[in-house]
């Protein structure tokens, strides 16, 4: 039986979790303080996910870029592809926080939304 040692990344507590696995199946999980840790350990060993935060270009904004995030964690191996998709996008100012940029990005079930409002560039 293979043992995997994880550090839980759900909250800043950072529990050290030990997962016993065989043939890609989980047999035992210990070291987690809460259920969220249990969920994290299961997911991390079978299909790890991450929230992606990055930037998109803004046309006519007071700054040339604004920040975006996926509304929920997406499979780790898709992080680069979602980033590349966002690198091609330019949105137009003004934009509010929460504005939808891409919905159900790459069929992950997650949307990409704006996290920093961007007013129009002042013409002064």
């Amino acid at each position: 039986m293979a043992k995997r040692n994880l550090t839980c990344i759900v909250c800043p507590l950072g529990c050290r979790i030990e997962v016993e696995m065989s043939d890609g199946k989980i047999f035992n999980i210990k070291g987690n303080v809460c259920d969220r840790g249990l969920g994290y350990a299961k997911e991390e060993c079978t299909s790890p996910k991450r929230v992606l935060t990055t930037l998109v270009r803004v046309k006519g904004g007071s700054l040339p870029v604004t920040s975006v995030k996926t509304t929920k964690p997406i499979p780790k191996e898709l992080v680069g592809k979602v980033h590349d998709a966002l690198a091609k996008i330019t949105i137009e100012a003004p934009v509010e926080g929460g504005t939808l940029v891409l919905s159900n990005v790459l069929n992950t079930g997650a949307d990409v939304i704006v996290t920093r409002q961007m007013p129009k560039q002042s013409t002064e």
């Binding site: 990344i9 800043p12 950072g14 990055t54 870029v65 992080v79």
Partner: protein, 416 residues
């Protein structure tokens, strides 16, 4: 010269200052000025686009800009008067007659006056020259905050082959940002034998992207004519001295220094406030009042926090204290008791206590420890801690019935 009057002046519009100013209004304080050097409030938050903010304060996981927007909303909704583009050059503490703040504003010199002041100027970054890196001075050497502002506010990648100095949370999070945006992070160089950041950040910022963490290593020298061309890295011994013969050159086009933060206490110090050498911030009592009566401090100028939630909590406490100060109901004892960092502890904030009130303390261990106990020596009370790291602030709320037993000192010690 323009003169303006307020009940409370808050200097610094970062998270703790925004929280302090809006809470002042919520507590019923009349005129509240929030004085900010930049053209917008928010402090460092708008450029911290990663998640992890607001877990304690809002029970939500937000990115920096989202968290800033919430706090900014409270500032505006509660009627704080925000004064932007003002560089504060002097504080004059005039005893019972209150405090004058001299600002350089776009309209010229301005004097703000109030009986009460909340100081929330945050901290600044330590630069390459302060950590003994020598060599050439080409372009391509940045502090982490500057690199972050270039990338995440202005959309400019600071380099393509980057060496990061320092593995605190700032260094780790920036490494991930560089990697996501397509730069190659060649190494994160850490002088200590352990990372200075949260374990979760080592995992999700370095391991996820295959970025090497070089522990017990240091950057000795920067080389390059116009642009950074390489750095010289060396191994470090137990006394933090370079080990001869282990030097090697690593090619790169940018060096990003994330080597710690220093509280911006300049104006406080110049007005005679006592500074704690252990935190670099002012000495405060349980009201977060400095040694200058009516002057309170919160956020990273008080103590460098690792969670914004703690900075916000300190801001809100300052607002309650300011309210009591204005009412004349701030009950201060004739002599203060002292909270003291004992064996294995770096500092304790607040440094002074009355023992009459429930008090929240912030403290850090000096070195990482597993399964240790935090001992409140004079009270013979022990608190078990699973894992303690210097990077993880320990927050401890103690009740007045316990604290009332303190005679002179309350010593915080860590034991294995």
């Amino acid at each position: 010269m323009k003169e303006r009057l307020a009940d409370v002046i808050v200097i610094g519009g970062g998270p703790s200052g925004m929280a302090a100013a809006s809470s002042c209004r919520k507590e019923g304080t009349g005129v509240v000025f929030l004085v900010e050097r930049e053209g917008m409030i928010g402090g460092i938050l708008p450029q911290c686009i990663h998640p992890g903010f607001g877990l304690l304060e809002l029970n939500e996981d937000l990115t920096g800009p989202e968290f800033a927007e919430r706090l900014e909303g409270q500032v505006h909704d509660l009627g704080v008067e925000v004064l932007l583009d003002r560089f504060t050059r002097r504080l004059v503490h005039d005893g019972d007659r209150g405090i004058s703040v001299e600002c350089i504003s776009p309209e010229g010199l301005e004097v703000l006056k109030a009986p009460c002041l909340i100081y929330s100027t945050g901290c600044r970054e330590r630069h390459a020259f302060e950590i003994g890196i020598v060599g050439d001075r080409p372009s391509g050497v940045f502090t982490a905050g500057t690199a972050q502002s270039l990338m995440d506010l202005y959309g400019l990648l600071p380099g393509k082959e980057i060496v990061v100095v320092g593995s605190g949370d700032v260094g780790l999070i920036m490494s991930r940002r560089f990697a996501i945006e397509g730069a190659h992070v060649k190494a994160v160089v850490e002088i200590l034998p352990y990372s200075g950041g949260l374990t979760r950040n080592v995992v999700q910022c370095l391991d996820d992207f295959g970025i090497p963490l070089l522990l017990s290593h240091a950057v000795l020298e920067i080389r390059g004519r116009r642009r950074v061309e390489s750095v010289v890295i060396t191994e470090i011994d137990g006394e933090q001295a370079p080990i001869r013969g282990t030097e090697r050159e690593v090619e790169c086009d940018a060096v990003v220094v994330a080597a710690g933060l220093v509280p911006e206490v300049g104006l406080l110090k110049a007005s005679g406030a006592k500074i704690d050498p252990a935190t670099g911030g002012p000495v405060v009592n349980e009201f977060l009042e400095t040694s200058l009566p009516g002057v309170f401090a919160c956020g990273n100028v008080l103590v460098v926090n690792d969670l914004v939630d703690h900075a916000v909590e300190q801001g809100r406490l300052c607002a309650r204290s300011a309210r009591s100060y204005l009412d004349g109901s701030l009950k201060e004892p004739t002599t203060w008791k002292r909270s003291v960092p004992g064996k294995g502890m770096r500092f304790v904030v607040p440094q002074l206590l009355s023992g009459e009130r429930d008090t929240t303390f912030y403290t850090r261990v000096r070195t990482p420890r597993e399964n240790c106990r935090l001992l409140l020596k004079e009270l013979s009370k022990e608190i078990r801690i699973v894992g303690a790291k210097p990077s993880e602030m320990i927050r401890l709320s103690l009740k007045s019935d316990l604290l009332s037993k303190v005679k002179d000192d309350l010593t915080f010690e860590v034991q294995s």
